[in-house]
């Protein structure tokens, strides 16, 4: 069973409950931030700001609510491979549209 027990029962490694409240508070602050930033005229940086804040929120949700922070490397790899592949899809397709 050596291959199996490298990361015994990853799903059981849960953070303390207080961590959830801290993360939740951080998410609320980021929500307020994204609404506030949208009131400023930063064109063309408005999109970038919104995307960055959303990504920060997404990372908090993934790392803590979805326990990636406490999971073995394999789960990290799987969780972020989706992001990586979307970057490929977006980057190459937009490269066509931007240079047409």
């Amino acid at each position: 069973m050596n291959a199996h027990q490298e990361h015994a029962d990853s799903a059981d490694h849960h953070p303390a409950v207080s961590v959830y409240y801290v993360v939740f508070t951080a998410l609320l602050i980021l929500l307020a931030a994204t609404v506030a930033v949208a009131q400023l005229d930063l064109e063309p940086l408005n999109f970038l700001a919104a995307a960055l804040v959303a990504t920060a929120k997404a990372l908090l949700i993934m790392l803590f609510f979805m326990h990636v922070r406490y999971s073995p490397p394999l789960i990290w790899l799987v969780a972020f491979s989706g992001f990586a592949w979307l970057l490929i899809l977006f980057a190459i397709t937009l490269a066509d549209y931007f240079t047409r």
């Binding site: 491979s81 899809l89 047409r100």
Partner: protein, 551 residues
């Protein structure tokens, strides 16, 4: 070890005979057999459509079929063969049957999901068959917009639903294989003790889970545009038809590797067994599968050189496309090096494997012509492209699939196939295939466009050659269908390991018991560890009826 002498011990086939014991089975081996029946049926349908296409092209005039009927026939051929034969063929039949056996596991990690994926495949198939019976579909297998979303009056919706549903079947199979490979390996079986078939299945699964959802979205959007007028691709509603091509080819180019990576895996097994050697450069073959899976996602725009995409994007796509040749060449060189000075035996599976290596090399090299943007502008949408991808898909995938079916047939059914007939039809397939598709390279280079049923008279000789080859090919496919069924009853009983192969699947009875192994196997040696005394092969006539198990 259990012997295969009478009375027949309990195995996965004779454990129950009722219909419900098959339709509700969770046994990966039975589900593989269900898939085998499904995709064989689909192959026959797709083959019939191809027969009509080749018959029509015997003469320059359109005298057998009308244009609309011809359009529907090549569309049916493409959709059935790509989505319902080539993509599921090796993973869903051989992969399903072999993955747990090769890993020393009792089943796949998710048996219910496995059965669900078969039902999704069949439901998708039924939708597609219904669309054909109701009147057909004429968009080509690529469903290009805005023709598919706005103008075609044929049964696009039913076909789209069929492809969409079968896509989920493909996703679930890939998911199951990834989870199984990570969590179900036998004790002692490290990644570098995995058979190369498992490596290639894993790389295939990665493409299935990362690519298929994107084509699902593309097809969903076509459907919504047809049904509700949500104009994502229709220029008259503000959409861009090229976006469909990006979404479609983001999946459908890697889908070529869904078809051919499993074939690489099969050929690696066959070359190792029949040259009685550990494959030269084991790790290189394994990692090149991953390199192909990743690079395959970066090159889809080479299908769009003439579509109006940015020339700069085309340039980049062209350059990256050349890179895919590197891992593919690594495999071909490594197989060749494995064969060098080896004690090769030319059993039927090996004939298919050798045929594969040659045909895949031709298909791959002509792919380089097409990756060069300048050449592609000349031969785009001609028979050169048709010939190229048939060399990969038929010369590659179908050859490997047939080789694999013959190789593992004794394990799957407990019976040997008739060697003489099998060799004869393997040669027939090789000859017929080349006669069918090599003239098409010339036709394409001369400028004959694909998807037309009328052509100038000077191309008739080459087209007749191609059709003649297709009829030989059809006979070559008909023979295995017949003698494999025949062998179920009359074939000699198969020993546990008829080919003297390594690998856990040969260390259990043929056919295996329901939970695959009587005891949990433990892997204590390297993979492909051919011991010297095994090098002396048993004479062929003994192999059929070995009364005792091999040591």
């Amino acid at each position: 070890m259990i012997t295969s002498s009478s009375p027949q011990p309990r195995n996965y086939l004779n454990v129950a005979y009722t219909v419900s014991s098959w339709l509700f089975t969770l046994d990966h081996k039975r589900i593989a057999i269900l898939y085998l029946l499904g995709i064989t049926f689909m192959f026959v349908i797709g083959g019939l459509a191809a027969t009509f296409v080749r018959l029509e092209l015997m003469t320059p005039q359109g005298d057998l079929l009308e244009s609309e009927t011809y359009n529907k026939l090549f569309t049916i051929h493409g959709i059935i063969m790509v989505f319902f034969f080539l993509i599921p063929a090796i993973p869903a039949v051989l992969g399903n049957f072999l993955l747990p056996l090769m890993l020393g596991a009792r089943d796949l990690a998710l048996p219910r999901i496995n059965l669900l994926s078969w039902y999704l495949f069949m439901i998708g198939g039924l939708f597609t068959i219904w669309a054909i019976l109701a009147g057909g579909v004429d968009t080509g297998w690529t469903f290009y917009t805005p023709y598919s979303s706005t103008y075609s009056n044929t049964y696009v919706m039913a076909t789209a639903v069929g492809v969409f549903v079968s896509g989920f079947s493909s996703i679930l199979t890939g998911l199951n294989f990834i989870v199984t490979t990570h969590t179900m390996r036998a004790p002692g079986q490290t990644w570098f003790r995995l058979p190369l078939f498992v490596w290639s299945m894993y790389a295939t699964s990665l493409i299935q889970i990362l690519g298929t959802p994107v084509v699902a979205v593309a097809i969903l959007l076509v459907g919504l545009e047809r049904l509700f007028g949500i104009g994502i691709f229709d220029p008259s509603m503000g959409g861009d038809p090229l976006l469909f091509q990006h979404l479609f080819w983001f999946y459908s180019h890697p889908a070529v590797y869904i078809m051919v990576l499993p074939a690489f895996g099969v050929v690696s097994e066959l070359v190792a067994t029949f040259s009685r050697r550990r494959p030269f450069g084991y790790a290189f073959i394994g990692f090149s599968s991953f390199a192909i899976a990743v690079l395959g996602f970066l090159v889809w725009g080479h299908h769009m050189f003439t579509s109006g995409q940015s020339i700069y994007a085309g340039l980049i796509f062209s350059m990256i496309s050349f890179l895919v040749a590197i891992p593919s060449a690594i495999k071909v060189f490594n197989w060749t090096a494995t064969l060098y000075k080896a004690s090769i035996s030319y059993d039927t599976p090996m004939l298919y494997a050798l045929g594969f290596i040659g045909l895949f090399t031709i298909g791959g090299l002509t792919g380089l012509f097409l990756a060069a943007a300048a050449v592609d502008v000349h031969v785009h949408d001609t028979y050169f492209v048709v010939a190229h991808f048939h060399y990969i898909m038929v010369g590659g995938t179908v050859m490997a699939y047939l080789g694999g079916i013959h190789y593992w047939w004794p394990k799957m059914t407990g019976r040997m196939y008739p060697e003489g007939w099998a060799r004869f039809s393997a040669i027939l397939v090789f000859v017929g295939f080349n006669l069918t598709f090599s003239p098409q390279f010339v036709l394409g280079y001369l400028g004959m466009p694909r998807r037309y049923h009328v052509y100038p008279e000077e191309w008739q000789v080459l087209n007749v050659m191609s059709s003649a080859g297709a009829s030989i090919l059809a006979v070559g496919y008909f023979f295995p269908l017949t003698y494999l069924i025949w062998s179920l009853r009359y074939g000699p009983k198969a020993p546990d390991n008829p080919f003297g192969a390594t690998g856990l699947e040969w260390k259990t009875p043929s056919p295996p018991p329901t939970y695959n192994f009587d005891e949990q196997p433990v892997v204590e040696e390297e993979v492909y560890n051919f011991v010297p005394e095994d090098t002396e092969r048993k004479p062929r006539e003994e192999r059929g009826e070995v009364p005792h198990a091999r040591a």
